[in-house]
């Protein structure tokens, strides 16, 4: 369902005809030619401003530029997508068009309101020779949006769903004078694919190939908060930028021009974040934001592009998800009280039961709030029906309303401010209830690409290794700014060379995900991991071994032990493919354990051990491996990695260690 959003606005247009000057059919063609000539002499088509107005991005090959808007209707010249000069001439000429029968809002001056304003300011239009038309539809619209400040909104990864680490970005426009903590009614600008209800693999393939159209929409912020905080349980980072009202108005003019203009949607290139960058670039064309992403754009990169601009970030605000708020509430309560809250949600204990009324007032308030929040969580995640949940939730809230004590999760429940000039570490320390590094902003984490070089030994033979990874994060990469226990890698390749031999593919990962989400008194999530890739198995412990393709998955519980250690025990299996298929191996299965310990913010240890029964048509073998990996963060985009272990791939056991320097890009 796609509405015709401007329809209500066009309705207002009739009034415009009353005062708009009657356009002369024989427009001042001499003046038109004069303006076009002046624009050409001054080279306006090659300016950053004009490029920003046309969303023109540099081509990957060659020196040309192409507009990212695909709908021909966006351009006034048939070659406007690539020919910036032709589009400029056509635009100026169009401004002289007579007033359309359906009112000024359909006139090019109003449809191309951003271009008109810039060209009018730059060329100094003479209103007596180029009659100006007021645009009531646009004016009503921008008056309603009422721009004061602009924030870039980044919903971070959600627990137990590492693929969400790629994130998403949207823009929020707050009206001037809006009090702090009342941003829910602000409008957000959202760019999304119209996927027509398609899901799963079809959606993924078409999304990657640009098979969908993307459109902008304007949505109240509470709606997005509800989606991200309550349904998907993602924390949100809000980056308030220092754009002026005028600059934000420039951007909104551009958005107005884009209304209903589809842009082909590609997950990795012209995705939501890239297109929003194009829009922001319109607020301040000097930033040339589009010129920085020739190949692909991961949402957090686009946040960085903006944040790295000196003086552009005013403050960052952390908005905890429903799940994070529950964790804060839990952190303030004893295990016994947490169990009491759980009993309230299941109905085993009533809100006015002695076990509850006997609690100290502040604890009672906290227990009731935790129970009510958890009930809502269950409701929003579909785990509980409304008839079951609603009377219980209301009874809890009624009890709570009788206690005057302040909310239990203050101040963590309110979005936490982080002024731009404050060091991340200090700011994190000030936010009550959150552990120190959980409040490192996502843009302060390492970059998603990784290039590594190192050496090591298999038994007594040395090797050299290089590897490259497209995206994103694994358990030994510097953890600041990422979700604890979550890792996802796409497109990684490792080449290894022993002595004077030639380099061989040691490892190839198409996709690898590990999600370790600890259980606690209330939550009992299942942790899991999966990988599609190619590994080298050394059955006899020799150099070459053989390449084995595998499609692996495992699942099991995880717990948080003392000192921030996450431990997980899982059972899993893999389908295997290699030259010795099916005789030696068809599949394997077995248990594994993982321990991840963040000893310091700069030092992570990951111990793992696993045993697998490898089954082939002719034989069954036992394989195992145990190892310890360590990551040392040297700088935001530099780390040192040491790994050592013992392996047996179904034959001889051998030891292996390696060291590598990782550089992130």
């Amino acid at each position: 369902m796609r509405s015709v959003p401007a329809a209500c606005c066009w309705g207002l247009v009739l009034a415009a005809g009353l005062w708009a000057e009657r356009a002369d059919a024989a427009a001042d063609s001499a003046y038109r030619d004069q303006l076009i000539a002046e624009a050409e002499v001054r080279g306006l088509a090659a300016t950053r401003q004009w490029r920003a107005l046309l969303f023109s991005a540099p081509d990957l090959l060659g020196s040309g530029r192409t507009g990212i808007v695909d709908n021909p209707g966006f351009y006034l010249d048939e070659n406007g997508k690539t020919d910036l000069e032709a589009e400029l001439r056509a635009t100026i000429a169009a401004f002289f068009a007579p007033l359309p029968a359906d009112g000024a809002d359909a006139h090019p001056q109003c449809r191309k309101v951003a271009r008109y304003r810039w060209l009018k300011d730059t060329l100094g239009f003479d209103a007596s020779r180029l009659p100006e038309h007021r645009c009531p539809g646009f004016e009503a619209w921008i008056g309603e949006v009422n721009p004061g400040t602009l924030s870039l909104i980044f919903p971070a990864a959600y627990l137990n769903n590492p693929s969400s680490m790629f994130g998403h970005t949207l823009i929020r426009i707050d009206p001037p004078g809006q009090p702090k903590g009342a941003q829910l009614t602000s409008y957000t600008i959202h760019f999304a694919a119209d996927h027509q209800g398609e899901q799963g693999a079809v959606f993924a393939v078409k999304g990657l190939a640009g098979g969908y159209r993307g459109y902008f929409s304007l949505i109240p912020y509470y709606d997005k908060v509800s989606q991200y905080s309550d349904i998907e349980n993602r924390d949100i980072w809000e980056y308030e930028l220092t754009f002026t009202r005028d600059e934000i108005s420039r951007m909104l003019e551009l958005l107005w021009e884009l209304n209903e203009q589809p842009i082909d949607y590609y997950f990795f290139t012209t995705n939501c974040s890239y297109v929003l960058l194009a829009l922001i670039n319109g607020a301040r064309p000097e930033l040339q934001l589009l010129d920085r992403f020739p190949l692909y754009a991961v949402p957090v990169d686009t946040i960085r592009a903006v944040v790295d601009e000196p003086g552009l970030l005013r403050r960052a605000v952390f908005r905890p998800s429903a799940r994070t708020r529950i964790a804060h509430l839990q952190a303030g309560l004893s295990p016994a009280d947490q169990r009491l809250a759980l009993a309230l949600t299941t109905g085993e204990v009533d809100a006015d039961a002695p076990a509850i009324t006997a609690l100290r007032e502040a604890d009672r308030a906290a227990v009731l709030e935790l129970a009510a929040a958890y009930l809502l969580y269950l409701r929003n995640t579909g785990a509980m029906t409304r008839p079951e949940m609603a009377p219980r939730a209301l009874a809890l809230l009624r009890e709570r309303s009788r206690i005057a004590a302040p909310p239990a999760d203050q101040p963590a429940d309110q979005p936490a401010d982080q002024p731009a000039d404050q060091a991340a570490g200090q700011a994190a320390g000030q936010a009550a209830g959150a552990s120190d590094d959980s409040l490192v902003r996502p843009d302060e984490g390492h970059d998603p690409g990784r290039l590594a070089g190192g050496f090591g030994m298999t038994g007594k033979r040395t090797f050299a290794e290089v590897s490259v990874r497209a995206v994103y994060h694994d358990s030994l990469d510097p953890p600041a700014g990422f979700v604890d226990g979550a890792s996802i890698e796409l497109g990684s390749l490792t080449l290894r060379q022993y002595g004077s031999g030639y380099p061989l593919i040691e490892e190839l990962t198409v996709i690898a995900i590990q999600s370790l989400t600890p259980r606690d008194e209330i939550f009992r999530p299942l942790s899991w991991q999966t990988r599609i890739g190619l590994d080298r198995w050394r059955k006899d412990g020799d150099d070459t071994g053989e390449s084995v393709a595998s499609l692996a998955a495992a699942a099991g519980p995880a717990w948080r032990l003392g000192g921030g250690i996450i431990a997980s025990a899982q059972i899993g299996g893999a389908l295997l493919g290699s030259a010795r298929w099916p005789q030696e191996r068809i599949f394997d299965a077995g248990p594994s354990v993982d321990l991840i310990y963040r000893a310091t913010p700069d030092w992570t240890l990951h111990a793992s051990a696993g045993q697998r029964t490898v089954v082939g048509s002719d034989q069954v073998a036992l394989a195992f491996g145990a190892g310890l990996g360590q990551g040392f963060r040297l700088d935001r985009n530099l780390s040192l990695r040491l790994e050592a272990g013992v392996r047996n791939d179904g034959g001889k056991s051998y030891t292996e260690w390696s060291s590598a320097l990782d550089w992130y890009f």
């Binding site: 941003q183 829910l184 929409s217 509470y222 509800s226 998907e232 995640t381």
Partner: protein, 165 residues
């Protein structure tokens, strides 16, 4: 219910008519005057492999029309109506905030009503103390909550001036 409908009519909240005609059973977009608390949001539950959720919009409407908040096709949206429209999609958090006596949703509601800073804590306290009247049953609707909050404000000497009588 009759009385609520009458009070709602007096406040300029239309609880029938075209605005409600295309309302979905679970409505977190648009007017939502008939929305009830604890509706849940399950129909947009996240997928396990959500790399692809990057840019989907669920079942919402595309387009940049700015009237999403008001649901009104033209004209200025009056405060009581704005209040009810805000309450609809925010019922769950609003009830929790009123029970606790503060919170972001309650702050935003105060802003929507136009309550000045010095009177806000009084407003928060009033909604907490009158919680049981405002959220009278698990099936209370947004329009009913709006009417009840208006009544609570009318009874308060300070908050009275923000109420519609």
């Amino acid at each position: 219910m009759q009385r609520v409908a009458l009070a709602a009519a007096l406040l300029g909240i239309s609880i029938s008519g075209p605005a409600l005609a295309d309302q979905k059973p679970v409505n977190n977009v648009g007017c939502g005057l008939g929305s009830m608390a604890f509706e849940g949001e399950t129909e947009v539950a996240p997928q396990v492999l959500a790399a692809t959720t990057n840019g989907t919009l669920g079942n919402q409407t595309f387009g940049i029309s700015s009237h999403t908040l008001g649901c009104a096709k033209d004209g200025k949206v009056m405060v009581p109506q704005k209040m009810a429209m805000f309450i609809g999609p925010n019922m769950n958090h609003l009830t929790a905030d009123m029970a606790r006596g503060q919170g972001e949703t309650l702050t935003t509601l105060a802003y929507v009503i136009g309550i000045e800073e010095q009177d806000r804590s009084r407003f928060y306290a009033a909604t907490q103390q009158n919680f049981e009247r405002i959220v009278s049953s698990p099936d209370v609707t947004a329009a009913e909550v709006a009417v009840a909050i208006n009544t609570v404000m009318l009874e308060d000497a300070t908050l009275r001036r923000y109420a519609t009588s």
